[in-house]
């Protein structure tokens, strides 16, 4: 049994024995838990991954004449300034207001540029008051000119996380990276055995006021993070899914771009790669045992991101040892697995923190209040008005075409009914394809006569029991104007068009206005 005070005395005299979490795993394998608890004082952890829930409070100081900032833009990225006069919060995932740049330079990139010491354009709009008469500012700033620049991240360091894959026929662009169709790859995002909250899975040492490594400088744990939850199933003492999170803060002026980067997940948006390392004091054998957890003992779940709903189906379980081989098996097929977070950087962080402590430059703190290890669940957001399902839409009686039909008959159907799409079905009413007026025009130009030769056979569909929002997204994504509605047996039930959807959304908006 040791105390944090005793460990700090050893750090002071240069006698503290510090290992990274990966080294600790090997040490315990070779020497046992008892020896580890006796000899090792601190275990350092590290992680370097995309943490969307990050941002920074900035204080600009007062201009003359002074302004009460109402809309604030830094390199064209909006920072929220609805707090006092010259404070703003820049969120990592905020897009650029210039649509041409959009996702390519957002809040996270701005944070990196500030930390790099670059000059940043500041544009401010205000409405003017007696005490703050000024109505606009256009100038440039740098990090060292700001009074305060405090990184404040509501939710970092997820204890564990889902491993993403994609069962659908199309490539998905997600916050877990690009997911290839038909289980084409899997993407995971955890430093495994080096990850902070997997080394102190019951939060025995981490809590409010724990001093940490944050983006190259000293930071602190404020408390548990948003969406902190404690109910997840555990295996070998560690949760097999998301679970615990931390809220972190640190002085941006002390940070280094080696350990924090702005990034863009393709077609998803900006996110911040945050480097965090937490020292764990080895106070007793239990803690020693837990910090010795190995990749193999950390189980996680492979989840199908092809299902765009709150609960996504779990395909199988795996562990970080298996994932780190670069291949896992899904449905009997070998699939390439790659990380989204950098294990190399995670190691660098754990090493750096170890060096700080060994050299006597970093002391441990006693948390004021520990992160809770029970009693926390994450509540879903219940929408009062449930989403409209496709089957609840009013759809007109559906007009169908048959593969054997001649082109001119089909053309007549389109014209007579004043429509642009026609689902093609077989005798039992099952969907076989779709044909548009464009296909017909094309067929006539090329002298084709059979519908079977001109229809599109790979059809994008809407299912009866899907929320309309998902269909709207599909129409946007594929830039199509309409798609057939099918039931469980693939029988065509109707057609839904982009106009139907905008009409529905328009109607909802109008209804809401009446209610207000």
């Amino acid at each position: 049994m040791k105390t944090i005070k005793e460990i700090n005395q050893k750090i002071e005299t240069g006698d503290a024995v510090v290992l990274t979490a990966a080294e600790m795993t090997t040490f315990v394998e070779q020497n046992g838990v008892e020896a580890a608890a006796e000899e090792i004082d601190v275990v350092t952890t590290g992680t370097f991954g995309a943490m969307c829930s990050s941002g920074a409070f900035l204080n600009f100081g007062h201009s003359d004449p002074p302004i009460k900032m109402n809309k604030t833009y830094l390199n064209n990225v909006e920072a929220y300034s609805g707090l006092a006069a010259v404070d703003a919060y820049i969120g990592a995932t905020q897009l650029n207001r210039n649509p041409q740049i959009g996702m390519d330079y957002g809040g996270s990139h701005l944070i990196e540029d500030l930390i790099r010491g670059k000059e940043i354009d500041l544009a401010v709009e205000a409405y003017g008051t007696d005490c703050y008469p000024r109505k606009e500012i256009e100038t440039t700033i740098t990090l060292d000119k700001l009074n305060q620049a405090v990184m404040m991240n509501p939710r970092n360091c997820y204890q564990n996380y889902a491993v993403a894959t994609n069962s659908t026929e199309e490539t998905l662009y997600t916050y877990m990276g690009t997911l290839l169709p038909h289980f084409g790859n899997v993407s995971y995002s955890s430093a495994g055995q080096l990850s902070p909250l997997l080394n102190d899975p019951y939060f025995e040492t981490i809590g409010m006021g724990t001093r940490i490594f944050l983006c190259g400088g000293e930071g602190y744990v404020i408390s548990e993070g948003t969406q902190h939850s404690t109910g997840a199933e555990r295996r070998n003492g560690v949760p097999i899914s998301g679970s615990g999170t931390l809220m972190l803060m640190g002085d941006m002026k002390k940070m280094s771009s080696d350990f924090v980067r702005g990034a863009t997940m393709q077609k998803y948006g900006p996110t911040l790669y945050v480097g965090a390392g937490i020292p764990i004091p080895v106070l007793n054998e239990d803690i020693a045992r837990r910090t010795a957890i190995s990749d193999e003992d950390i189980v996680c779940q492979v989840v199908d991101y092809g299902v765009p709903r709150r609960s996504r189906p779990v395909i199988r379980e795996t562990n970080y040892k298996e994932l780190k081989t670069g291949k896992i098996e899904i449905n009997g097929v070998e699939v390439n697995a790659s990380p989204l977070s950098s294990y190399k950087k995670a190691e660098e962080i754990a090493d750096e923190l170890k060096a700080w402590i060994t050299k006597g430059n970093f002391f441990l703190t006693e948390p004021v209040r520990k992160v809770p290890s029970e009693g926390y669940t994450v509540n879903p957001l219940e929408i009062k008005k449930p989403s409209t399902l496709v089957k609840n839409l009013e759809s007109k009686p559906v007009i169908r075409a048959y593969p054997t039909e001649g082109i001119s008959d089909v053309a007549k159907k389109l014209v007579d009914n004043n429509i642009n799409h026609l689902p093609v079905v077989d005798e039992s009413g099952k969907l076989r394809g779709i044909v548009t007026s464009w296909d017909i025009a094309n067929a006539i130009a090329k002298g084709k006569t059979k519908l079977n030769d001109v229809m599109t056979k790979r059809v994008i569909i809407a299912r009866e029991d899907e929320p309309v929002d998902l269909v709207a997204r599909r129409i946007d994504k594929h830039e199509i104007s309409g798609l057939p509605i099918v039931d469980k047996d693939n029988k065509v039930k109707g057609m839904i068009t982009a106009e139907d959807i905008s009409r529905l959304i328009g109607k909802e908006k109008n209804n809401n206005e009446v209610c207000e």
Binding site: F48, G326, S342, Y343, K344
Partner: protein, 128 residues
């Protein structure tokens, strides 16, 4: 060498490629193929002693041959060795070394650009 072969529809049915392989004794490896009624595109790797002659023959038969001189380059400054690009590469040109550094092998790359667009740091560039 790597090259894109482009054909028009009227020659898709002819056996130009097998003739080329036979007459010039080249190794002919199809890396990607995209053949439609409107013609086709093949990405191929050709090696052997008579590569230039074989290209001359294919061109004389109406295939247009565009050699690829693309270079894939990873900017080490920008790359954080996350690994997101690794599982996206269709030809395993991107690998993870023992110390978790991510390496891109220019020789294996076919220039598909999956990695460039998916890299969160925009660290990979393909240049002609």
């Amino acid at each position: 060498m790597k090259a894109w072969l482009k054909f028009s529809p009227d020659i898709t049915n002819k056996s130009i490629i097998s003739d080329t392989i036979k007459s010039y004794d080249i190794d002919f490896n199809i890396l990607r193929a995209n053949i439609t009624p409107k013609g086709g595109k093949l990405l191929v790797e050709i090696s052997g002693n008579q590569v230039d002659e074989s290209i001359g023959y294919m061109e004389s038969q109406g295939i247009s041959v565009d050699p690829i001189k693309k270079v894939v380059r990873k900017e080490e400054e920008k790359c954080v060795d996350c690994g997101a690009c690794v599982s996206l590469c269709p030809v395993k040109a991107i690998s993870v070394s023992d110390d978790w550094t991510i390496l891109v092998d220019d020789q294996l790359c076919i220039g598909c650009a999956f990695c460039t667009s998916s890299c969160p740091m925009k660290a990979i560039k393909i240049t002609e």
